[in-house]
């Protein structure tokens, strides 16, 4: 046996150690009260009788286990009963709630939802029997795509980049119902209660129904905003 296997055997033999175990038949030269060689297998015991180092190690192990076994069993506090019951009942309540929810019949969506969805989409899409959650593409889109594909440009749309087209659309929107807020007059200023200068301005809102009648500077401004989509007379190119 090597030292590790002897140590393992010694540790395994500690199972029988009690704090006040009575001494039993022991070899001579050992302390019957503490050495407890009787717990060891014969082969290990022979090593210990001959080897003081191993005997010292065994005594240390015995000492540790005796000390640990002085720890008495602690009584279970009465709180535990109540806490376990409470936690189980809480668990039952949750399970019951989940079971109730699972047992609920499926609730049909109210017609009001169809109406609201139709309003938000701009058309009563539920009226033609479609799933309320499904928006059908307008037929004009099919025509536009077919036209684009059949034209010489191929399937891939050619033209201005998306940002420019969006800019043009924004400019058209402005032009169709044009409102211009102009800053007019001189800046006036006075002092506030805290001594700081406070500026004030006058504003005027001008509404132009037809961009062609607008001031040339404004038309040029719109032309710039639209990325050239509007010409110099405020018309769409």
């Amino acid at each position: 046996m090597n030292r590790q296997s002897i140590r393992d055997a010694m540790i395994e033999s500690l199972a029988g150690v009690t704090p006040d175990h009575p001494a039993q038949g022991l070899d001579k030269g050992v302390d019957p009260g503490t050495d407890r060689l009787d717990l060891l297998p014969q082969a290990v015991r022979e090593h210990l009788v001959e080897n003081e180092g191993l005997r010292r190690e065994w005594r240390q192990l015995l000492r540790q286990v005796r000390a640990i076994r002085t720890l008495e069993r602690v009584p279970v506090p009465s709180d535990l009963d109540g806490r376990v019951v409470a936690s189980l009942q809480a668990g039952y309540r949750q399970e019951r709630a989940i079971a109730h929810v699972r047992a609920l019949p499926p609730e049909p969506a109210p017609h009001e939802l169809d109406v609201r969805m139709g309003q938000s989409a701009g058309r009563p899409f539920a009226a033609d029997g479609l799933d309320p959650g499904f928006l059908k593409a307008p037929a004009v889109l099919d025509r536009l795509v077919a036209k684009r594909v059949s034209s010489g440009g191929g399937a891939r749309p050619q033209g201005s980049p998306r940002s420019t087209r969006l800019m043009a659309a924004a400019a058209l929107l402005v032009a169709s119902s044009l409102g211009l807020m102009a800053l007019l007059g001189d800046r006036s200023s006075n002092l506030g209660d805290d001594g700081l200068e406070m500026a004030s301005f006058s504003f005027r809102v001008i509404r132009i129904e037809d961009p062609a009648l607008a001031h040339p500077d404004l038309v040029n401004l719109l032309g710039g905003m639209s990325g050239g989509a509007l010409d110099g007379r405020g018309r769409v190119r």
Partner: protein
């Protein structure tokens, strides 16, 4: 083991029997592993909660008691890990202010005086503290082996490890205990 019943039937019958059968072992494992009563109570409650939720899934591939010990040990270690940031209830309350030094005779089962009782409590508190200072794995194996008196096979089942791991871990636990316990036992003049 007649505990395979629906949790919906409440805390009666087989569940009550199971709780009564294991509460002492569960609480003591939790107490020795966590090192204080408050955490032991929490870990025990958690253990029985898990036990009752999962008992119907137990497949009898190991001893039922090993499964219970495993849940208790894991609940204690998890709780200890979660509460590592907050200070544990001190065991210093059990100590005598003098710091001890009087020899204690384990074999003396006569009538215990107040001083001897205080010294015994102090020693036990220090031993418990020494166990609590071990790593969670070594603490668990020490408690299962020497407080719960489990065999190596039962420990292996409870901790989900091999017999070889049990032996090597127990050997390392004794080396750690030697460092932790020897000064305490020397101070108390224990052989």
């Amino acid at each position: 083991m007649a505990c395979q019943e629906s949790p919906g039937r409440g805390f009666d019958g087989a569940f009550r029997d199971l709780y009564e059968q294991y509460k002492d072992r569960v609480y003591n494992v939790c107490y020795r592993t966590t090192g204080n009563a408050a955490d032991a109570l929490d870990a025990s409650q958690e253990t029985f909660g898990i036990l009752f939720r999962k008992v119907s899934a137990f497949r009898f591939e190991s001893k039922f008691s090993s499964w219970v010990y495993r849940i208790a040990v894991n609940a204690s270690i998890d709780l200890k890990r979660r509460s590592a940031a907050r200070p544990a209830a001190s065991l210093d309350l059990l100590r005598s202010p003098s710091g001890g030094g009087s020899p204690i005779d384990f074999k003396d089962e006569g009538i215990e005086g107040p001083a001897a009782a205080a010294a015994r409590l102090e020693l036990q508190a220090e031993i418990q503290e020494a166990i609590t200072r071990l790593s969670p794995k070594m603490r668990a194996i020490t408690v299962l082996r020497y407080n719960e008196s489990l065999s190596y096979e039962e420990i292996a089942e409870s901790l989900g490890t091999s017999l070889g791991t049990v032996k090597s871990r127990l050997s390392r636990a004794h080396a750690a205990l030697d460092r932790e316990l020897t000064p305490i036992l020397d101070r108390h003049h224990l052989r």
